[in-house]
């Protein structure tokens, strides 16, 4: 009897033993574990989702652009910590008096990864390719340059090669942020030969001039890039291989970092900050803030039509408490729709203080002495500007309750959420925005102008005085004049209160302690040219 019992136990233990048989190997086989090579030269970057395509001009999502930033170069590039521009593929430039002609001298002896030459013809080819497209093929081109070839709003009259290494842009009217726009990641220069060769499939076979060459893309798993031995910046890049890995869950990604399977992770939960800070093997990286998280007050719905009501709600939110509770202090309260790093930021504006009495008073003035009922929409997914929409909504709900506004929290799956909010179905909703090029227009015009109703102006806010100021600012070349216009714009916005601006957050990344040269960029796309392991 006893012997048979042992048989049974053995049968079960066999399964368990087999499973752990491999474990002994994990310490011996150097796979990625204990035996470290002299200096590590492969960097594995863990991010949340996969890229859509590696043709930068065809995409709008950050996951694609952060990879293409390393395969391609733009004519100009942003400096490390802000969106001021510096030479890249263009070494110098002149602008005509009237602001209509930009002439760029191009870097010489630069080759694309397929060996073909980079020259003025290549630049012309790329810009023509985009101008001949439409809103579905090259979405960012249309929104930054006013449309496409035959559109009235299209700002670029022509692009021509004056000689092999000089290219000239002639505009129909001045565009103040023009240099910042051409430095944007989507407008990177692709190899004309490769574009012709691959056509529609270029997004899977990207060829640029960048520090890294595309090697392999396993969808939903990894993208592998290799060092460009002939990169135009001498001595760079330092890394031999750059691998982007998709790990959807933030906690699982942190586990992978702690285990050493990845070297840098993005989107660290603020609640995990303390755990990483206390660990000497890792360091925290902070991405300079160029975003805003806000509560949209849809101007077409119910009590929100009344400006006094919107102002009252502004008095009712305790922003600092929200920052302490949900951002681990890694954010600053927002008083304007755009962050302080953007030129034209109006620091003179006083934020609506957290004052429940004043809020109740305004509500009574507006005709709602007993408050009212409303829906408060929150997103179900973490965003760089808002790590936990649901909890932040609950905090705001509690704030509102104190002045008699009963908020019911509503949520939808992310794509549905955006769709419904865009249609104007939400009363009060949480959302945010990360800037693309560090220009005030990219915040104020895109989010609050009446022209943007139907695209990114979800509150349906429409104000003619604001509109006129924003349109004028788009064409003015003098920077001081522009900034004055934007400051006035922010005053109007403060007064009309289409939003409750919440915070400007600092997204957090974590990585191994021996990584050097990594400076996360405000736009969210990082170039790994100078990154190396100590």
């Amino acid at each position: 009897m006893r012997r048979n019992k042992w048989f049974a136990w053995l049968a079960m233990l066999l399964a368990v033993v087999l499973v752990f048989a491999g474990c002994g190997k994990s310490k011996e086989s150097a796979g990625g574990g204990s035996d470290k090579p002299p200096t590590q030269d492969t960097l594995v970057y863990g991010r949340g989702g996969d890229s859509v395509s590696l043709d930068p001009a065809t995409v709008t999502d950050g996951e694609s652009l952060k990879v293409t930033k390393n395969i391609f170069d733009t004519l100009l590039d942003y400096n490390d910590n802000d969106t001021s521009v510096k030479p890249a593929l263009a070494t110098e430039w002149t602008i005509s008096e009237d602001g209509l002609t930009y002439t760029f001298k191009l870097r010489q002896d630069v080759k694309f990864h397929d060996g073909t030459d980079f020259n003025a013809e290549a630049v012309v080819f790329n810009f023509e390719r985009w101008a001949n497209g439409n809103a579905d093929t090259f979405p960012y081109y249309g929104s930054m340059f006013g449309g496409y070839k035959n559109d009235e709003g299209h700002v670029i009259k022509e692009v021509k090669a004056l000689d092999d290494y000089t290219v000239q842009f002639v505009l129909k009217r001045p565009q103040a942020p023009f240099l910042k726009n051409i430095a944007m990641t989507p407008f990177a220069i692709a190899s004309p030969e490769a574009v012709k060769k691959y056509g529609d499939k270029f997004g899977e076979h990207p060829v640029g001039t960048g520090p890294f060459v595309f090697k392999e893309w396993k969808r939903n798993e990894r993208i592998v890039l290799e060092k460009n031995e002939n990169y135009w910046e001498n001595g760079y890049p330092k890394l031999n291989q750059l691998i982007f890995v998709s790990i959807p869950d933030n906690s699982a990604r942190l586990n992978a970092l702690l285990k050493g399977e990845i070297d840098i992770m993005e989107d660290l939960n603020p609640t995990d900050l303390k755990q990483v800070e206390g660990n000497k093997e890792f360091q925290i990286f902070k991405r300079p803030s160029m975003n805003v998280a806000y509560v949209g007050l849809t101007a077409t719905r119910g009590p929100l039509k009344n400006k006094l009501v919107r102002q009252a709600l502004n008095y009712a939110v305790d922003k600092q408490a929200i920052i302490d509770a949900f951002y681990a202090g890694q954010a600053e309260p927002a008083k304007n729709p755009m962050p302080p790093s953007i030129p034209g930021y109006n620091d003179a504006i006083q934020d609506y203080p957290f004052d429940l009495e004043k809020a109740k008073q305004l509500l009574a003035e507006a005709g709602y002495p007993n408050g009212f009922e409303i829906e408060l929409w929150a997103m179900p997914v973490p965003r760089p500007y808002m790590p936990d929409g649901q909890k932040i909504a609950e905090a705001i709900q509690a704030n509102f309750a104190k002045i008699g506004v009963k908020a019911k929290i509503v949520t939808y799956e992310w794509a549905t959420y955006l769709d419904k909010v865009a249609k104007g179905e939400a009363d009060v909703f949480l959302l945010g925005w990360t800037g693309d090029n560090g220009d005030a227009d990219n915040f104020l015009y895109a989010l609050l102008d009446k022209d943007s109703i139907g695209s990114n102006n979800y509150t349906y806010f429409s104000n003619d005085e604001l509109h006129n100021i924003l349109v004028e600012a788009q064409t003015v070349s003098d920077e001081n004049q522009r900034n004055e216009l934007y400051k006035r714009a922010q005053e109007i916005i403060k007064e009309e209160a289409p939003w409750i601006p919440l915070v400007h957050s600092t997204p957090l990344l974590a990585g191994k302690a021996n990584i050097q040269g990594f400076h996360p960029h405000p736009t969210g796309s990082d170039k790994f040219t100078k990154v190396e392991f100590q």
Binding site: A11, G22, I247
Partner: protein, 324 residues
């Protein structure tokens, strides 16, 4: 019989996904897209055509073996889906192997030593297994076995710095085919945590099912006869009782395997396993209609296939069951 079922199902899926608000073009282009961009892409994808035209085009494609193209990547789904399917196959089969070996044996021993301490502990563990949220279990496994004990990797199917040459996309086979034993062990290590996490629920259900079925059978007269004849308990249990008790357990095993193959989305998310569950789940998020339709269709086909195998196994084990 199969064809009408599949057709009906494809129609239901077709309508359900179009009932969800959200335009695929808007989702693909993202938050920052202009109205014109969205309208242009909608037209290009044929989404502004009437529903019956879209459906007929889809079915027509199916009959030609064309599963359609992913709206998001533009790639033909038939080609794109296999690596995901293979990843889930490997994971599910590993999980079912663990679930069957451990579950059936646990059930047998519980029944054999009914009301012993083993029985009680096993059944409590089974209850726990069914009740634990799988994503929590996954994260706990990672914390304990990967980080604290440093025994196993946290995520993925392979070591990113030492990738595997995919031939069949079933990595256990591929590493053996290329003769690389080090990579073979790596694949096994990567399989352990997710398959154990995934196995907990089927294991628990199979254990309980086996136990109750065995208890039923062991009360029967022919078992008493076998024992009276002097046969050792081991053979009485493992040969005679099990053979008769296994039929309902097979049903459960078939259903559980089908469910697992349907995509263990939570496990795949926590362990970054590039399986078909995530593939279809992401497609829902992107409103990638062709992927959702074809993906669900394929899972339905596999499910039907597994049930077919289970039916054949019934006939093999029980000579009283015959099919025409």
């Amino acid at each position: 019989m199969i064809i009408p079922v599949l057709l009906g199902m494809s129609l239901v899926v077709f309508f359900m996904i179009r009932a969800i608000p959200g335009n695929p073009a808007q989702v693909i282009l993202g938050q920052k897209a202009t109205k014109e961009a969205v309208a242009a892409l909608t037209h290009k994808l044929g989404l502004d055509e009437p529903w019956y035209v879209q459906y007929v085009k889809y079915i027509g494609g199916l009959l030609r073996g064309d599963l359609g193209e992913s709206i998001r990547t533009g790639a033909p789904i038939a080609k794109e889906i296999w690596p995901y399917l293979a990843a889930t196959l490997e994971l599910s089969l590993a999980a079912m192997l663990i679930a069957i070996v451990v579950g059936v044996n646990a059930g047998i021993i519980s029944a054999w030593f009914q009301n012993s301490w083993f029985d009680y502990i096993a059944m409590v563990l089974a209850l726990l297994g069914v009740s634990m949220p799988i994503f929590w279990l996954g994260l706990m496994e990672q914390w304990l076995f990967s980080i604290q004990l440093d025994w196993l990797p946290t995520s993925g199917r392979e070591d990113v710095r030492n990738p595997i040459e995919a031939i069949t996309h079933l990595y256990l086979i591929d590493t053996l085919l290329s003769g690389n034993t080090e990579q073979f062990w790596q694949v096994v290590q990567h399989l352990v945590l997710p398959s154990v996490a995934l196995a907990t629920i089927p294991m628990a259900i199979i254990a309980r099912m086996t136990r109750s079925s065995m208890l039923e059978v062991m009360k029967s007269d022919y078992i008493r006869t076998a024992r009276a004849k002097g046969l050792s308990m081991f053979w009485v249990v493992y040969k005679h009782s099990l053979k008769n008790a296994i039929i309902p357990v097979l049903t459960v095993i078939g259903l559980q395997t089908g469910l697992l193959l349907g995509g263990a989305i939570l496990t795949e998310t926590i362990f970054s396993w590039p399986g078909i569950g995530r593939y279809i789940y992401d497609a829902i998020g992107y409103r990638d209609y062709p992927v959702i339709q074809s993906g669900i269709l394929i899972i339905a086909v596999i499910f039907i296939f597994i049930n077919l195998i289970v039916d054949l196994l019934y006939a093999a084990i029980d000579p009283r069951i015959k099919y025409n």
